[in-house]
């Protein structure tokens, strides 16, 4: 098992030291996504839609008795003027160190022209009045997969000043993108009948003068799915489209950034040091740990409990099992329960989280078994009180006042209930030993308890109590890392004071 654990630690290292060129791409073509020069052709350059089935513009106008202007009976009849619509550098790239399901779209120098619009008798779109000076409402990005014909908009309308967008995909692959500038110009409102519109769709370029409708097609499809129904809707957008560009996703196996690699190195270093000192400890070398009075007091407290015929109360904090302090508390509970069993005393464990109670039950049972007193274990002494903080506190206080434990041990993560527990224990004249890494509660424990373990001392307790060379060696390893951290802090402070932020930048993590 020991050998297995060493090799299974090395195996991930071998994997992780491979270069990050193990990118997962849909095909082997690693050519970068093309950069599109997105100068959109003038409306006059656009080839008119010459579908022979398109009804004539005049016919459609005459067939649309519902088309009417609101509030303005003497509309002008000037055509829509559209100037050029230019987008520079519309690029789509897979972000570096990406998950393989993201693409970065970027464009800049978007210039949109001014609009003037046609009048009521000639137009079939309705738009909502906007501030007269704001022609451009926003930008919309359309997307389709390489093997599909249908475009779909991504998200909501983007503010006009947006210059980049990160698009999340459902699957990796190649995707086409279009960028649309969306306008709601004009001050007039018009109503439309959509059956007419559907028929007019094919010939809209002829019906609506000067407006390119390739993009409006998508806009309207997006806004009004039931185009063939006889109903009146309001059109809210009118826009122009860029040409499409294609981007391919790229999933990376490793974030090869400096800060991440430094952290990985730190974790590996801790693991390596732990194993190195474990070897040394197993060869018989004694590893020195300074005396921690609070931990020594645990055994004294348990002895006191036995003499007085009172139980020991253990409170593993109020946080969930996934918190490292709760895990450390469970590790300590194993040692404490073994000692309590050896002293033939009683142990009451008061839990706030049900799953912690289940783990505590197993741990205490194992402790009694290891001490050779499995029959002395009483499952009713490992109790779930309540999952609410203060209800738990009230219940635990009740245990203290009724069952009068002579030793209270608080190891884990605590919050506001810490002082209430500790003061009640004081009233009970119990010996109280507390340990937490929750800095806000340390002052309360220090004021009310006989012994308090601060921060990392909590994580040292299980190693200290067990005297197991493997565990003690891990303390040595974390101490070495602490020294390295202190040196790095001092060096970083000195360097930063001289204007060099090399060490600071080495540990900056940004997604």
């Amino acid at each position: 098992m020991k050998r297995l654990s060493i090799w299974t630690l090395l195996l991930p290292l071998l994997v992780l030291t491979s270069p990050d060129a193990w990118a997962d791409t849909p095909n082997t073509d690693d050519a970068p996504a093309p950069e599109a020069n997105e100068r959109v052709p003038e409306p006059s350059e656009q080839a008119p839609n010459d579908d022979a089935s398109a009804p004539a513009a005049e016919e459609l106008v005459e067939d649309q008795p519902d088309a009417k202007a609101l509030g303005d009976e003497q509309a002008e009849h000037s055509p829509i003027q559209i100037d050029s619509f230019t987008v520079d550098s519309f690029t789509v790239k897979a972000p570096k160190h990406g998950t393989g399901r993201k693409l970065s779209l970027k464009w800049d120098n978007v210039e949109f022209p001014n609009f003037t619009f046609d009048d009521a008798s000639r137009l079939f779109f309705q738009w909502i009045t906007v501030e007269p000076n704001k022609d451009l409402v926003g930008l919309r990005v359309l997307r389709r997969s390489n093997d599909s014909k249908d475009w779909a908009p991504i998200g909501d309308l983007l503010p006009p000043e947006t210059i980049s967008l990160e698009d999340k995909l459902s699957k990796p692959g190649s995707w086409d993108y279009k960028l649309i500038g969306v306008y709601t110009p004009g001050k007039r409102e018009y109503e439309l009948t959509f059956t007419r519109l559907a028929q007019a769709w094919v010939g809209t370029q002829e019906v609506i003068q000067g407006v390119r409708l390739n993009s409006e097609l998508f806009e309207l499809l997006f806004q009004f799915p039931s185009l063939l129904e006889e109903e009146t809707r309001r059109a809210t957008t009118l826009g122009l489209s860029s040409d499409s560009v294609t981007g391919k996703t790229k999933a990376y196996f490793l974030i090869a950034k400096k800060a991440h690699m430094m952290l990985l190195g730190l974790v590996v270093l801790v693991g390596f040091l732990m194993m190195y000192y474990t070897r040394r400890a197993q060869r018989g070398e004694e590893i020195y740990i300074r005396r921690i009075p609070g931990i020594d007091a645990i055994e004294e407290g348990i002895g006191r409990s036995t003499e007085m015929g009172k139980p020991v109360l253990y409170v593993p904090g109020i946080d969930d099992l996934q918190d490292i302090q709760t895990i450390a508390s469970m590790l300590i509970l194993g040692q404490v329960s073994k000692t309590v069993a050896e002293y033939q005393s009683d142990l009451i464990v008061s839990c706030c989280i049900p799953i912690v109670r289940e783990v505590a039950d197993e741990v205490v049972r194992a402790g009694y078994y290891q001490a050779g007193h499995p029959d002395a274990f009483n499952a009713a002494n490992v109790r779930f009180i309540a999952s609410d903080q203060f209800a738990f506190c009230a219940g635990t206080n009740g245990i203290m006042l009724r069952e009068k434990p002579s030793t209270n041990i608080y190891f884990g993560r605590f919050f506001a209930e810490s002082l209430i527990l500790a003061e009640t224990g004081f009233v009970n004249r119990s010996i109280q030993i507390a340990g937490t890494a929750e800095a806000t509660q340390l002052p309360f424990f220090i004021a009310a308890c006989d012994y308090t373990l601060i921060g990392e001392e909590l994580f040292a307790v299980s190693a200290y109590l067990s005297k197991d060379p493997r565990l003690v060696s891990s303390l040595k390893a974390s101490d070495i890392i602490k020294v390295i951290c202190v040196v790095a802090l001092i060096a970083g402070t000195v360097l930063a004071s001289m204007g060099d932020t090399f060490l600071i930048d080495l540990f900056k993590i940004r997604e």
Partner: protein, 287 residues
């Protein structure tokens, strides 16, 4: 005399409780208010919100319970008044299961006073379990975290959520937090990764824990306990007293500061007297 001093040092703590009770009850009945200044950390929150414009949207994470009401409710209410008076839109969620029944009625009432409409001007998304995981999900996809709001309407279809898909899309995040999960988890999980602007209103016990985050600019503002709430209230009521939405509103933390005054004074007096008694009865062996 010496015996009296020793008895004083070892007195039954119920006398201390009685003294504390009197130092709380008397100022509640007969408040004596002293002027106070606004701390720069609280001022920073106020100033940043003042920079917001009508139509901007903020995300508020209301993570407190009835136990921390005295400290955080005044800030919470003043903050809502401030935001609504500026026509800023609010999207609110919570990581504490006990928060929604308490904070939602306040939100609805204050919104009504300002003539705001749920769904258009504000949304209450409800409680999300999962602690740090929930925060990560908010940052990733808020709409996925809350498919519908607390009223049962689809979050994605709410007008106030238009253009806002995740925490990254909000200009500002205000964490009204009484403990875990709360401000610390927001800072550790998402602030650095996405460069979010977060302000925190927290209990007096937790505020010292967040000062390092304020100093390193991971929080742009910090309001600690009732003093912080009182300072923020003072700023809001000074500038927005004439707003119709605040016509029924009252300062809560400001008047309650007199209780803090007396309570703190009592404890300080107790400590000083205890030490005087200790020194006067100390034998050389105790050195």
């Amino acid at each position: 005399m010496r015996n009296a001093l020793i008895r004083f040092q070892n007195m039954d703590r119920r006398w201390i409780f009685l003294g504390m009770a009197l130092s709380i009850m008397i100022p509640l009945l007969y408040p004596i208010n002293f002027p106070f200044k606004v701390d720069q950390r609280v001022q920073a929150i106020y100033d940043r919100i003042e920079e917001l414009e009508a139509g901007d949207t903020v995300f508020i994470s209301a993570d407190f319970d009835p136990a921390s009401r005295p400290e955080l409710e005044p800030f919470y209410r003043a903050n809502l008044h401030h935001l609504f008076a500026k026509d800023v839109k609010i999207v609110m969620g919570s990581l504490w299961p006990y928060a929604p029944p308490m904070v939602r009625p306040w939100l609805d009432n204050i919104a009504k006073e300002h003539g705001k409409v749920e769904g258009e001007d504000y949304a209450f998304l409800g409680f999300k379990a999962g602690n740090e995981l929930a925060i990560k999900l908010f940052a990733d996809d808020l709409v996925k975290a809350f498919p519908s709001d607390a009223s049962g309407k689809k979050t994605a279809e709410l007008p106030v959520m238009k253009g806002f898909r995740s925490l990254k899309d909000f200009g500002l995040i205000i964490s009204v937090s009484a403990g875990f999960p709360g401000t610390k988890e927001y800072v550790l999980q998402v602030q650095g990764q996405y460069g979010l602007e977060i302000a925190s209103a927290t209990t007096a016990v937790s505020a010292p824990d967040y000062v390092p985050y304020y100093k390193s600019k991971q929080l742009f503002g910090l309001s600690g306990g009732m003093p912080g709430s009182a300072q923020y209230e003072k700023l809001v009521f000074a500038d927005y007293r004439d707003d119709p939405g605040l016509s029924k509103a009252k300062e809560m933390a400001g008047p309650a500061q007199s209780v803090l005054n007396m309570g703190h004074l009592f404890i300080v007096l107790l400590i000083v007297c205890g030490n005087v008694a200790f020194f006067l009865t100390r034998t050389p062996k105790e050195d």
